[in-house]
Subunit: 507 residues, 2 copies
């Protein structure tokens, strides 16, 4: 029986009609008539069946989305969300559970899987294509040590004291200068230094969004952004990409329907799909944002890590920094352990970001910022990039060759123009989660596609990082994955049966 077959609305009740519809859906989820992943009827259809205005059904779906009970995907419909798994309950070591409650920030969002994904990403066992990490063996450790020593000798007590909340002024100057060199209109006082771009994402979204507010994200998108938005209780509206980037036709519908405060995009080397948004598409997205009075959060994590293709202007440069908040980081192009990223934003936004940064942690370490600035001033970054970019291109090519040699037909992958990883699409019949478990047993790790989707889909894709893996290990790891995929394709063709053994070495 359909979940809504016996749904009766009472317009005279004290409960608004949209809430009655929402409550009926909640009840159906609870008693199993609706289950995760099921698609709700289109608003138009349900409105007709219930003899109500379509906006009433839209309001019901939006209320459910705000509570995380359903997720909406422009162009695809509204789906019952995965139940949120809370972190494991306390082991009753003391025989005493936690006495008081928790906030929705930690109960109502998908924090549970986050840490296990991060543990996978930072694992140093076996061959790891997980995480998006720079090559550790290419890090300029000694040169950075010299910069640290110089700063400590020159102004040790100063950089070991509290610093400016917005960041170390000479570093802000350097960053603003580098951005101006790429066409952005920005000065040092428009820059906030953060603990990696992850903190920039968090502060920006906390500044813009209240619980339940809609925000447009690319589908798929960066896991770290999804986790921030989840913890804030934002309503994520996913918009699919095509070869040129976020689809403007779907974005227009999403803006019209959801009226979000912000659009989150990674125009250059999109994580995870590695796509580069075309120049025309960049202008389209900005025009749509302008028409709808919407902010754009541009995450340019891969800046400086392009090794091929034409350099395209950032949205921030194209827009004159009016509605675009720009984020980037030194973690990927230099040293993750510094935890230095930044946000560039128009003044009203930046003032609020700085205030929230003060509330969050009183500012980042002046010592690391000053040492980084010393390193940058001496040309350390150019020298480092001149070393890593060719190395990353070489590793990409080694991975592409290995994929061509080892992966069966039906698997496809991207050829990134820069960055640290590529994106693989599996054929029908091969499930990425199952592949992950099997590969992990063989000591090969990767990032599952589901990590990058706001709705838990993405089982048909995976992300493979090449930048931090030595060439011989790239080949060995891809060989393992290739054989596991072949096994699964054979199994799918033959129907369920015993798993084939194979002769590849355990790594």
């Amino acid at each position: 029986m359909a979940w809504n077959a016996d749904l009766k609305l009472d317009p005279a009740s004290g409960t608004p009609v949209y809430r009655q519809i929402a409550d009926a859906i909640v009840a159906a989820c609870r008693d199993g008539r609706l289950s995760p992943g099921m698609r709700l009827p289109p608003t138009r259809d349900l409105a007709r069946r219930l003899h109500v205005n379509r906006n009433t059904v839209v309001a019901a779906y939006e209320a459910l989305a705000a509570d995380g009970i359903v997720t909406s995907h422009t162009g695809r419909g509204t789906f019952v969300a995965e139940p949120v798994a809370a972190p494991a309950p306390a082991r009753a070591e003391t025989g005493d559970a936690w006495p008081s409650g928790f906030s929705r920030a930690v109960e109502g969002s998908a924090l549970a899987g986050l840490l296990s994904a991060y543990r996978v990403a930072t694992s140093s066992e076996g061959i790891s294509f997980a995480g998006s990490y720079p090559a550790a063996e290419l890090m300029p450790v000694e040169r950075f040590r010299v910069a640290l020593d110089a700063v400590l000798a020159r102004s040790g007590a100063e950089v070991l004291s509290y610093g400016s909340t917005a960041g170390y002024a000479p570093l802000r100057e350097w960053i603003a200068g580098a951005m101006r060199g790429r066409g952005s209109d920005v000065s040092a006082d428009g820059i906030l230094i953060t603990n990696g771009s992850q903190q920039a994402l968090e502060l920006v979204f906390r500044t813009l969004l209240d619980r339940g507010d809609p925000v447009v994200v690319e589908e798929p998108t960066y896991t770290g952004a999804l986790s921030v938005l989840g913890s804030l209780g934002a309503r994520m509206v996913g918009v699919a990409l095509d070869e040129e980037g976020m689809r403007p036709d779907l974005l227009a519908v999403a803006l019209e329907r959801h009226r979000p405060r912000a659009i989150y995009v990674q125009p250059t080397i999109h994580n995870p799909t590695t796509r580069v948004m075309s120049r025309r598409r960049r202008l389209d997205i900005l025009a749509l944002a302008e028409r709808h009075g919407c902010a754009v959060v541009e995450d340019d994590w891969a800046c400086d890590l392009r090794f091929e293709g034409e350099e395209l202007p950032a949205l921030h440069a194209l827009d004159g920094g009016r509605r675009v908040i720009y984020l980037s980081t030194f973690s990927k192009k230099l040293l993750p352990g510094l935890r230095v990223g930044w946000a560039a934003a128009p003044r009203p936004v930046l003032e609020r970001l700085v205030a929230l940064k003060q509330v969050a942690d009183h500012g980042s370490s002046p010592l690391l910022q000053a040492a980084l600035q010393e390193f940058l001033r001496d040309g350390g970054l150019e020298e480092h990039l001149a070393r890593v970019r060719p190395a990353y291109r070489e590793r990409r090519d080694i991975m592409l060759a290995a994929l061509g040699a080892r992966f069966p037909g039906g698997v496809s992958w991207t050829r990134p123009q820069g960055g640290l990883f590529l994106w693989v699409t599996l054929p029908e019949g091969v499930d990425g989660n199952d592949l992950f478990v099997a590969a992990r047993d063989r000591n090969v790790l990767f990032s599952r596609g589901g990590l990058f989707h706001s709705d838990g889909s993405g089982q048909g894709s995976l992300r493979l990082t090449y930048a931090s893996v030595a060439p011989a290990r790239i080949e060995a790891g891809v060989a393992v994955l290739g054989s596991l995929i072949r096994e699964r394709l054979a199994g799918a063709a033959a129907g369920p049966g015993p798993r084939a053994a194979d002769g590849l070495p355990i790594l």
Copy 2:
């Protein structure tokens, strides 16, 4: 005319009665019949006058408190709150205001004054008794540089990569060991490393509280906690202190009336009043928290900075770490520029804190954590404390002597047993804000009492830091303040008149 003289309630209206009462109060605030600082009638009186149940009035006041329109103070009543000053609007440099809105986190809280207070605190001009900073000239710069170099030589690439979200394992071990040495039952996996204890405060309160949730704070209390609670939209319930610490009679009433999820306390060298909670009072507070199923957030910022008096056990040690979340930091006792603090918490809390830390910034810099651990392992902290504790006691004594010599009768101050500052209470007729402005003109800075109050009161007090000020400057600065207070007392006695000139040097 009283604001509620013509208030008419309509029980048949679609608007609940409590909301009608709340709306009438909002209207009265808007048209000026109620203004900031005015006390609302006791709930019992208003209920009688309006012929409604007292709980209806309580609900109205609570709704207003959740929106930040009124503040409640146990034992004193409910008051109209100060209007929240939003950050200054954008200068119309581009002729274009920010296109979309902002979250309540940055609009609805007292962020505006925060940065200016922090700028005062970090100012290096003149003589500053503001901020609570350790002495820069006593910092172990060279020894820390040696630790940094050793770590970089031994494991440079590792500590410049991403690290564990919860923190560098050997540092967590060291901290857990130090806490066990003081009687706490804790292991390394019960510790989260944060960017100073400010981030610990933020993550803890985000884990425990939703917007509008009540939390008990000491009145006055630490500015940084007030700013976190303000940005989260928590409802702060202030409980006054007596000589032994937070008053248990008032706390019992607050717990009964507001049912808060947490109590925030600084039992040892309370900031700003420097009080030390007695052992008996510690047990009283824990018993009350236990009775009401309430968490306790213990901020032990001054641990290791006691130079007099009996060492008392932390609440965390007394409670066995069951309902107490413990925070501390290396900023005050060692080096603020490391930005290293921590939280110790029961497992269900810690798991959520680690997840939120991952969302917030992917973990603190492994380099700084590893260097700190190297420094600690080599006994650097003991050596440093052996140097700074006597220096801080000497500076306290110099300040106490200067206050005795320069401040007029009627001013009183505390004699702290440790920490970095003392607390001054001004006599009637001297306003702390006015004194602040006059002192700033004379290049002497201090922290105004109002910074430490959730309701904007505190004009009769100020906090003076001695630890980071050289002895000669302590005397000169106190002399300026003393003369300014004398002027004001003379002016108050004589009535309004021209300001007296004085012969003290401009500093």
